[in-house]
């Protein structure tokens, strides 16, 4: 059997090696990516629940994710995790440490974990993370968690791919939370106050409940608040119940299909830009002088590639 066919069949059978290879092939835009992505079963992808886990650094996202894995496994669900961390803008490298908290599940064949670096691209990572989610779904995962730090545009874009998103907060991180209020609280469907045994947790819960009420009035969409102590697994079962409740509401009112459509559109744009980038870069590198206004140059460049821009 040729290599690609083996990988495709391996993914469907849940073979860890094949799943790992398939995600790399897509992430690196290797030629075999086409065949792999074309082989995915839309029904399996449709059936997979995608939950975003976000929040400021140090809130306990990875620890909570690990506990969610444990609880989902207790419920006999095969589960995937895509853990996204930023690449260094200087070296392009990345230190991906989310696994440290999840190693307890390393030998469980029904837990698929993939660490992913943003690779400092303007977009791109959304496409790669989306593909990883679908490959995991193809391998039989019923739930996939996308974990990413809740700062920065690219991270927010990743979270927007999820069916629903839990925002993890913890007492004592006040400044980060202030900074994020405008942006990330908007995308949260569930507000998780983690480390709820620490001082300041009660005040944070009250704060977030008021945020939730305001959102309810403004958007007519319920935001749930729940407390956890992830390090001890407390509140995790209740959190999954909340996830299921929100999921049910979103399925009934069409929110899920709306979001999936939006995410799909967004991902197509992401991939289109990503796939054309090498050609654009080649054009730019060809012309050493590169005088003139950047926008006009960009229009010329696109015209040279046969793409007419409107304005």
């Amino acid at each position: 059997m040729p290599e690609v066919a083996k990988i495709i069949s391996g993914v469907s059978h849940g073979d860890p090696r094949s799943i790992g290879r398939a995600i790399s092939i897509v992430e690196n835009h290797e030629p075999a990516a086409h065949a792999i992505l074309a082989s995915l079963d839309p029904e399996k992808i449709e059936a997979c629940l995608v939950v975003g886990i976000t929040g400021p650094p140090g809130a306990g996202k990875s620890t909570l994710t690990s506990q969610l894995i444990k609880e989902y496994r207790r419920l006999k669900k095969r589960i995937g995790v895509v853990a996204v961390d930023p690449s260094s803008p200087l070296s392009g490298g990345a230190l991906l440490g989310d696994r440290v908290r999840m190693m307890g599940h390393a030998l469980d064949k029904d837990v698929v974990v993939r660490s992913m670096a943003t690779r400092g691209r303007l977009g791109g990572v959304c496409g790669s993370a989306g593909a990883a989610v679908r490959i995991m779904a193809q391998s039989g995962c019923e739930v996939v968690l996308i974990e990413t730090v809740g700062v920065g545009q690219s991270e927010m874009d990743i979270v927007r791919m999820a069916d629903l998103t839990a925002m993890v907060l913890a007492p004592g991180l006040g400044d980060d939370i202030q900074a994020m209020k405008a942006g990330l609280l908007e995308v949260a469907d569930i507000l998780v106050i983690n480390k709820s045994d620490l001082r300041g947790a009660d005040a944070l819960v009250l704060d977030m409940e008021s945020v939730a009420r305001q959102r309810q009035e403004r958007l007519g969409r319920a935001t749930k608040v729940c407390s956890t102590i992830a390090s001890q697994g407390e509140g995790v079962a209740a959190l999954i119940q909340r996830v299921n409740e929100v999921h049910k509401v979103f399925e009934e009112n069409g929110e899920i299909s709306q979001r999936r459509l939006q995410a799909r559109r967004y991902e197509v744009i992401d991939w289109a830009v990503e796939l054309i980038r090498p050609q654009i870069e080649a054009c730019i590198n060809k012309d050493e002088e590169f005088h003139g206004d950047p926008m006009l140059l960009a229009k010329d460049l696109l015209a040279g590639l046969g793409i007419r821009s409107n304005n």
């Binding site: 860890p16 090696r17 995600i23 790399s24 260094s88 991906l96 390393a106 993939r114």
Partner: protein, 134 residues
């Protein structure tokens, strides 16, 4: 570096001395590698399973406890069992000169002992990744 090299750094066995592993992980990141770090006290099977899931080109193992003769080859074996013999294993730590031969025979590609420069270690990883052109 145009193609991104993914590597995994792990500490097998009951050994909490992770300074060395962290220095190597950070140096690799600064050289443009994507480094998955597993943390301390992992079993060889756990490290191999993580390496397979993450589809890394190479695994770096650190040991300062004296159990390298048992733990490093065990990771090589676990990778082979998972059909991932192509993933290179590189080791480092407090390792006596006379053990190096045995480790290499067991399939560990390179061994670094105290005094090795970061550059030598980086080159070994880069070399391992380049050879692993899947």
């Amino acid at each position: 570096m145009s193609k991104k090299y993914r590597v995994l750094i792990g500490k097998p066995g009951l050994d909490g001395h992770d300074r060395g592993a962290k220095v190597i992980a950070q140096a690799l990141r600064d050289q443009g590698f994507e480094v998955i770090y597993t943390g301390i006290r992992r079993s060889p099977a756990e490290i191999a399973a993580a390496a397979v899931q993450e589809d890394v080109a190479a695994v770096g193992l650190s040991s300062l406890s004296g159990a390298h003769l048992r733990l490093f080859p065990a990771v090589v074996e676990e990778l082979a069992k998972a059909g991932a013999s192509d993933i290179a294993v590189v080791g480092g730590g407090v390792i006596p000169e006379e053990d190096i031969e045995a480790l290499k025979e067991a399939g560990v590609r390179e061994i670094f002992t105290p005094g090795a420069t970061l550059e030598e270690v980086m080159n070994a990883f880069r070399d391992a990744c380049q050879k692993n052109s899947r």
